[in-house]
């Protein structure tokens, strides 16, 4: 907060300056006051119960007013504006933290209630009311996501190799542009596209696992291309030149030099893209369908997935809404855990296998 302080040479040349601790003391003070006021109101019966959020909001507003006024009196108007903006910027960050904390807290607190053995060993077949589990949804998610990865990783990786190692001219430019466009395809449009293709080729009203996998692959490929392209580009040219100088053909150079150097990063970006599509709901809703029983054949019959399961339990709560909502929360928790584990793995891989580079 006081980076700009210069050792004061002569008192006359410096304007007034609040001591370093002043803003912090003000912050603590305004929070104390706000909480005291709200506490008194709660005891006095004006409020139903003690309102932490309200107290925090009032505390922050109080601090902003106080610090601006005090600073403009003791320092200068410019310093006051600076302090106000510092407070605003920090508040923006705190505001973003609120939904994250609230979301994680509610998902964990509500999801833990059905986080039992039955939940992970039964499907919803013949389950009415309470009980039931998500085995079918977990299998569906794993199979569909893996198939999507098997389709999109080779295509994405080869495309990025083309863009970095071979691509010149118009085709490369077109591919770069359209990969960008593809990143922006709304997920539900990807689902509609696959549905439209299968409706034309096979007939309308069909849904099966492979359609979901294809829809996810459409969404995943551009992410893989973007990620691995960036990583292939940072492989130093000296490595390639050294290989060429030894007479290694270009394709072997790419296979044996470029890819091994960047494999850690590429695996990371693949993991991140998987964790991105594993939570997709809309395309699967249109393509993979909706079922209560376990189906492990992606080429026939509808397939349940975790996000669609959570969505279905929320939208059609049936006769026992509490049980349905508990299942929805528990599957949301499962989904979040899977995504977090994938993210963590990705970061660990990046850390463990990162090639030693010099400089930044």
């Amino acid at each position: 907060m006081t980076v700009l302080t210069a050792p004061a040479p002569a008192a006359v040349l410096t304007s007034g300056k609040l001591p370093k601790w002043a803003p912090w003391a003000l912050l603590a003070g305004s929070f104390l006051v706000a909480f005291a006021v709200f506490g008194v109101a709660a005891i006095g019966g004006d409020l139903a119960d003690f309102n932490i959020a309200g107290a925090a909001v009032v505390g922050i507003l109080l601090y902003m007013v106080l610090v601006t006024v005090i600073s403009s009196i003791a320092e200068s108007r410019r310093k006051a504006v600076d302090r106000l903006m510092t407070a605003l910027v920090a508040t923006a960050f705190l505001i973003a933290l609120l939904p994250l904390i609230s979301l994680l807290w509610t998902v964990v607190a509500n999801g833990i209630q059905r986080f039992d053995a039955e939940f992970f060993s039964f499907s919803m077949r013949n389950v009415v009311g309470e009980g039931g589990g998500i085995v079918h949804a977990i299998w569906g998610t794993i199979l569909i996501t893996l198939t999507a990865a098997v389709i999109s990783v080779p295509i994405g990786l080869m495309t990025s190799i083309y863009l970095v190692e071979y691509g010149r001219g118009r085709i490369a430019k077109a591919i770069t542009f359209f990969v960008d466009v593809m990143t922006g395809i709304p997920s539900i449009v990807a689902g509609l596209f696959i549905y439209a293709v299968f409706a034309l080729v096979i007939g309308p009203g069909i849904s099966m696992g492979i359609m979901g996998a294809l829809a996810l692959a459409v969404l995943m490929t551009p992410v893989v291309v973007r990620g691995s392209e960036e990583l292939l580009r940072i492989v130093p040219n000296e490595l390639r030149e050294a290989a060429y100088a030894l007479g290694v053909p270009k394709w072997l150079t790419i296979l044996k030099v470029v890819l091994p150097t960047s494999i850690a990063g590429i695996m990371t970006s693949v993991m991140l893209s998987i964790s991105r599509v594993i939570g997709e709901t809309a395309p699967l809703l249109l393509t993979a369908g909706f079922t209560m029983s376990l189906n492990t054949n992606i080429f026939s019959g509808q397939m349940m997935t975790l996000p669609v399961f959570a969505y279905g339990q929320y939208m059609n709560q049936g006769t026992t809404p509490d049980a349905a909502l508990d299942r929805a929360w528990a599957s949301a928790l499962t989904l979040i855990l899977i995504v977090m584990v994938l993210n963590l793995l990705a970061r660990l891989i990046a850390k463990w296998f990162a090639p030693k580079t010099s400089g930044r």
């Binding site: 979301l103 080869m158 409706a199 459409v218 490929t221 053909p249 249109l286 979040i336």
Partner: protein
Amino acid sequence: MSTTEQAPPVAPPVPPAPPAPIKAKQRPGDRVFSGSALGAGIIILIVLAAVATFLIIQSLPAFQLDTSDNHILKGESFWTYVWPLVFGTVWVSLIALLIAAPIAIGIALFISHYAPRRLAAVLGYIIDLLAAVPSVVFGLWGGLVLAPLLQPIYVWLNDNAGWIPFFGGQVSPTGKTIFTAAIVLAVMVIPIMTAICREVFLQTPKLHEEAALALGATRWEMVQMAVLPFARGGMVSAAMLALGRALGETMAVTMVLSPSAVVSFLLLTSTNPTPIPANIALAFPEAHDTGVNTLIATGLILFVVTFAVNALARWIVARRAEFSGAN
């Protein structure tokens, strides 16, 4: 051997004949590999072309003049059906963007220029966590936690600020309004906007910042004079990309909104305009025959709108890259 060594007479420099460009020997491995790399790239182009073609083919039946046997259009023209949906899509995304933009820029500034250097990476990672949460979880949270939480605030807003046109009308008893959906969308796009803004802010030339500080600017004045003007293009394109994301988001909106097909600017009532993606997700399971084609046609319109927004964003980025001092 002579002891006096004389420089050899300098021969007039003969310009060396330009060497014939050395062609690498074409090996079959090379051909196969480069061919398959090119093939992969072309597959992507084909897929995109296929997306457009199949969507167009499948949506043609929706544009028939006689729509009396279409169970979704029920005799109306397609455009009367789609107009409230387009309005809903744009309206909810714009509100979300209005909420998200200042917060995201604030967070990006906080991480890049205000937070202690050592904390910045951790803080950035925390914001990225928000991006990792699946949209269906946001939907659950928005519908079951946020909506009941906001409902009393809506009542209060309606009582005290009902004279503002947006807050008028009959307040929704569930809190499942377009405003709640916009807030959830804002939370979802904040990480995207923050990530891009942060990158752009960090690219501000250090010399500009130090020059401002050396002239006695406070930190905010430095940000105002050096960082924000430099980052203007980047911030605009970040906002556009976030808008593109918000336009296509389905689940969170579907689960938070109580939908109806109206054009209404009221934020707090229970008759809300429905965005296209939410409408598709809700109507698709029951749709059949030409009804499906109608929904696919709305999807096509969504595709065109997001494509336009994204292309505009890329164009702004590209323009900025050409003229910015950083390159």
